[in-house]
């Protein structure tokens, strides 16, 4: 049965699959209230068990795989397709908010019109470019994408450079021991990473004890000897935290608002 089909037979099968799965999903509503939470927990457990079993179960030494390994790719695909269906939830939220703005003539509703126009503009020209590829459609999409989206991305990202300056100006003052430490290490790293800074100590020998005082070597020392072990230790703690949260999620032991609500 699970073989690819063609022609009218395919459409029949598709319709059948839609119908059967639709009925199955709808009939979930018949599950009585007290069984719903256990059902959700079971689904979570089984989904997690796949990866856990795949990782822990012994493997055939020649293929380095066990009987679950081949299902990695299909599961990745299912995961991806299902997540794509969720995109509509976000778009729906955006659409309702801005349609409301426009309908109720809320302050700044013109911007909502612009937002929706831009959204449909890039979507339509993008699809036209794919399905009716011609220079005009290509160019139209390029105006939205290369002119608009790409440059907006680059501009907003580069704006961080300005903010980093005002943050540094404010934060790097030797007010406390901690602030002083922050200030000193940041300044040394900065000096060591540009040629003008490296020029300051270019006169020092490149080997021997004095070479340690060359700014690029100080920077290297800070990054590899002082900051690396600190970040490594943070990472070791974070790893345990993530593992512990995952275990709680997997076994539905997690508590907190979403997980405690009655369904």
């Amino acid at each position: 049965m699970f073989t690819p089909k063609t022609g009218p037979e395919l459409w029949l099968y598709i319709a059948g699959a839609l119908l059967v799965s639709g009925v199955l999903v709808t009939s979930l509503q018949l599950v009585p209230g007290r069984l719903r939470k256990p059902l959700i927990a079971l689904v979570t457990f089984l989904a997690g068990l796949f990866y856990i079993a795949e990782f822990f179960l012994p493997v055939d030494p020649t293929t380095r795989a066990n009987f679950l390994t081949d299902y990695r790719a299909p599961i990745a695909q299912v995961n991806q397709v299902l997540l794509s269906f969720a995109v509509g939830v976000g778009v729906y939220s955006l659409l309702t908010l801005h349609t409301k703005n426009i309908v109720r003539r809320r302050q700044g509703w013109g911007f909502s019109v612009l937002l929706l126009a831009a959204m449909f503009g890039i979507l339509v020209t993008g699809l036209l470019k794919e399905y009716r590829p011609n220079p005009i459609n290509q160019a139209a999409f390029s105006l939205f994408f290369d002119g608009g989206l790409k440059s907006l991305d680059a501009a907003m990202f580069s704006i961080v450079a300005f903010y980093i300056v005002s943050a540094a100006y404010r934060a790097f003052r030797a007010r406390s021991v901690e602030a002083t430490i922050l200030l000193v290490s940041a300044s040394l790293v900065m000096l060591g990473q540009v040629s003008l800074g490296q020029g300051l100590t270019a006169g020092l020998p490149t080997s021997g004890f004095l070479s340690n005082l060359r700014v690029e070597n100080i920077r290297e020392w800070i990054l590899t000897r002082a900051s690396t072990p600190a970040l490594l230790a943070v990472e070791l703690g974070l790893g345990l935290g993530a593992l512990s949260t995952s275990i709680r999620l997997w076994l539905s032991l997690e508590r907190g608002s979403y997980f405690e609500k009655d369904v």
């Binding site: 990782f55 976000g90 990202f157 943050a167 943070v234 974070l238 935290g241 512990s244 949260t245 275990i247």
Partner: protein
Amino acid sequence: MDHATPFARVFLLGLFAVIVGMVLWAQSGKRFFIRRIPGLSAIDEAVGRSAEMGRPMLASFGLGGLNAQEGVITLQALAIVSDVAEAAARFGNRVIVPVRIPALMPVAEEALREAYTRGGRPEAFQLDDLMFLSDRQFAYAAGVSGLINREKVASIFLFGTFFAEALIIAENGNRVGAVQVAGTPSTTQVPFFIAACDYVLIGDEFYAATAYLTRQPTLLGAIVGQDIGKAVLLFFILLGVVLTALNVPLVVNLFADQAVPWAEMLRPVAPAAGAGG
């Protein structure tokens, strides 16, 4: 590591047993202690200030999605944001929650509804304040910056996975004079939060946050389990360093990516082979 080595099986199952064991112990009534985490006591203060000024608050549970790397962080962040929302509901405050990942909208909606109910004001929850902004990192940052400036928010809570946009959001918050509390496992962004926010949670303080805020036995138990895990790691590290000094690579071999036969565990490596490989 593609599949577990024999040692990895033992080690990971050990960690699993310790964490689950502590959670179960806590659930059966054992009361565990957890030390004060300074940034977290600031949450109530920040919420209170918002209420005093009569201006809204903004809370983000980060830019992480539901994948293996960020999923658990995002859900943990959502739990913290729910606690913020609960406090906000108690004070009768408005809290704006901009979202980046569409798939998380339903989860966030349910979590916030529940938080307002626990805060005693289910009717105060405004669906319009939970908004999908953009899945694009910097469009999200632009939108949040706009919100911060236009709504003149009085306090900002940033928890979860953050990337370069962290500083854009935090500097705009700083400019409008908002009290800001941040916590993230994204170590690269911590320095910027330190520079622009009033309180910052570092490293796995983030994971301890919900336990500290809610005093839930389950979460407290898990924190104790993690601490035991850290102690075990420290033991292996110290043991390993001493053995390495004696040129016995036992611990390096135990933690190897490919299974090392038991008979070869103690065989010294050739000098200059280096670690990892």
